[in-house]
Subunit: 460 residues, 2 copies
């Protein structure tokens, strides 16, 4: 049979890499739950009309069709099922569907795969994992939750073995108010123009601001100056106001931005930074917006984005405002794994391999293993009664730190640390490994290793 | 907007039910890892030719199509992608693709959703979660692993808050050898006939055994007698041999069956039972086969099945034998949730709600929350500085057991157990809840409650 090629855009991990991913997902979940977010899993599919309900026909949705579907069975296009491309559309549908069974504010986290039929490229996959938190109110939602979601993500970044991440903040009201105050007739067009600043440069953006957003040259210059403002200190507000633009929305949005930056940094120093260039997402959110760059990996784009939406969902009578933030786990993880920067201390959960001296003595080895497992020590028994040297190599290849030799006539139980070679007598009902050896550990290399070997790349 | 209907066959859970599911999945994972199985996640999609490679054109596969696919872009049918319908086909593909990076025997567990476009009915869903363990050898795989996978699942069943489960065992070699020894010319036809025993009764099975499998009336009677044999004691072998049928495969298979039952029950008393009526899966597996019934929920069918396959995968040069067993998590869980038999003590992870006396004092409450979280106590802060009675009701509705009142002028910190009403002084940097309150607990009702309320059913 020919070698099976990987499927582009669908990354898969080797066992050791998966242990890194599990460590990251476990850490994220633990912190989300410490902050009282409850878990939600939604089905992978949504009706196509839900997926496209914001008119986003440009989304690359994967549609489903049953292999043995009878003609016409799938019904009209609106009834067709597609794989969800984010976790926000399913959340909105779930909240509307189950509002009567939920307590508001509803604080949920959701860690799931999502699918997009996009062209695969760096940081972009067709299947990837997201980890979202959202807080959904019924009719109203207090502003302090906009601070809260950033605090939680800042804690996640501090706990993960990853390069530093800076959460950048902007505010839709500030931007829209400023553009209007500077004379824009189409503030959405101004947002789109500013969003292209890094790509096409200030001159062409200025032209777009005039042509598309209805600004004059002076107004366009002010908008470009606004986009240069960044920082988290007390001068932020003064620097915006010094541009001399006035609008009630600007005043409101600036106050919110200053409040978010101050409140988050008071609780998690230097976690967030105002960046008034951020425009992506401002057409979608209604207040605070977040984007996050990973230092040294800026080309990946934002690894964690979100913001405030005044109407996540509405059933016509009740409106559900929300604020959320979404961590792109795959976008963050896969490049760090591929570059060999994140490694696990072993490829299996096992802390101990119990050797087997003879197939007739396997039961004795299994008894030792059960005694160790009863104290939470992950243990496997050697698959064959090969020479001990071979059994030790079996452990070594997987990074299992300890090999146990069961008592036999003439010798007591003993356990060998195969890294140091030290072998000591031990009681299967009492021995414990050092805490650092109990579970695999995950380490980030301070910088990319000089040589990258093929085997460290995800097999995709 | 009209009420959103659930999607048949795609069960979704309410927050409290999801906590039950998390408890079950966490328990399963913990036990798999204690036995040294490493985690694998494969992509959700496989090329259609992989999904159908065993000629299983009857599978109800969901095919994928990109919404904006260009004509002809999706290529030939063989290149089409479909959602996986089990975790075995992806495992076989993954092992072939990554054999050079894996250590054999490769022990992996995999807990993932799978999809089948089947007609939804009791115990059958279109999207459901499976939890599989498999041990894959390279060229060879020792028999003791057939014992091992049953021992691990028996431990899982003992640890889960579910009704008793009995793993039933049969053996492909035993059945085939017996059928051949009794005169069958088509032992697969005999398997299919016996598989219908419960549905169509012994008389019609006897007719099929004669018509389709080439047995005479006496041979058919022997096969039906074999199917009545069940048990786990020392007489098992004698009772089979007493039927007087002889065949080398029968001898080999009977020895394996007796060995599996004895070895598993020696380690986990009464965990398995030989049942020679089991035929399903025997056409697929090559040695031991497992099926599991949940006592009181027999109509669900097998909730945990598996067996030995001498060739899970092969690249033409190397063959990979395997043994595996698969727990149908959704099949087990959804009916127990719907019947109200499994409940969680709260609907959120939070152990403590920190009250807010005044919006101006929110920072003080957040400081308490951070101090508690630093010791692993899941905590949320009240969303508004409502009257304390309302804040306590906020906790009560979610099942949060403790409400914390931060120190203010004239009063120290105190914490109230809202179940007992007891309120005591407490230090945010030292207080710990009783261990039983730290996380939500999951309980199985001894029998289905007399009345089932709508809200306890999964919203689907």
């Amino acid at each position: 049979m020919a070698k099976i090629p990987p499927l582009s855009g669908f990354p898969e991990l080797l066992p050791q890499q998966r242990i890194v991913e599990q460590h990251i997902l476990d850490t994220v979940r633990r912190l989300f739950e410490l902050h009282g977010f409850s878990s939600l899993e939604t089905r992978a599919v949504e009706p196509l009309d839900q997926l496209l309900r914001k008119g986003e026909m440009d989304k690359e949705v994967y549609l489903l069709r049953r292999l043995h579907a009878v003609d016409d069975e799938e019904g009209a296009a609106a009834d067709q099922l597609g794989l969800h491309f984010d976790l926000t559309v399913p959340l909105a549908r779930y909240v509307l569907q189950n509002a009567g069974h939920l307590d508001f504010p509803y604080r949920r986290y959701q860690i799931q795969k999502v699918w997009r039929g996009e062209r695969p490229q760096e940081g972009r996959y067709r299947e990837f994992t997201q980890a979202d938190i959202d807080i959904i109110g019924r009719d109203t939602l207090a502003f302090h939750h906009e601070v809260e979601v950033a605090v939680v993500m800042a804690e996640v970044f501090a706990a993960l073995p990853i390069p530093p991440a800076v959460i950048k903040v902007n505010n839709r009201k500030l931007a829209e108010g400023f553009f209007r105050g500077a004379g824009a007739t189409d503030p959405d067009a101004a947002l789109r123009a500013i969003d292209n600043l890094d790509k096409i440069g200030p001159d062409r953006v200025a032209a777009l601001l005039v042509e598309d957003a209805g600004l004059d040259a002076a107004g366009a210059r002010l908008c470009l100056e606004l986009a240069t403002i960044t920082g988290s200190d007390a001068t932020l507000s003064d620097r915006v106001q010094a541009l001399g633009v006035e609008h009630p929305l600007l005043t409101e949005g600036l106050a919110e931005l200053v409040a978010v930056v101050a409140a988050v940094n008071a609780r998690r120093p230097q976690a967030v930074l105002a960046d008034l260039k951020i425009a992506r997402g401002l057409d979608y959110y209604t207040g605070t917006v977040f984007e996050t760059e990973l230092v040294g990996y800026e080309s990946l784009g934002s690894i964690c984005s979100g913001g405030r939406y005044d109407a996540l969902a509405s059933d016509g009578k009740v409106t559900f405002p929300g604020v959320g933030i979404s961590l792109g786990v795959s976008r963050l993880l896969v490049p760090l794994l591929a570059g060999g920067r994140l490694t696990a201390s072993r490829s299996v959960p096992s802390c101990v391999l119990v050797a087997v001296s003879d197939e007739g003595e396997r039961a004795a080895s299994e008894q030792v293993a059960d005694a160790l497992r009863a104290r939470g020590i992950s243990t496997e028994v050697a698959p064959s009664a090969a020479k001990f040297g071979k059994q030790i190599r079996h452990a070594d290849r997987r990074g299992i730190p300890y090999v146990w030799f069961a008592a036999s006539e003439g010798s007591d139980h003993s356990v060998k640390d195969i890294r140091s070679g030290d072998q000591v007598p031990a009681d299967p009902y009492g021995w414990n490994p050092p805490a650092a050896d109990l579970h695999p550990t995950v380490t980030m290399e301070p910088r990319p290793p000089a040589t990258e070997t093929t085997s460290e790349e995800p097999p995709q």
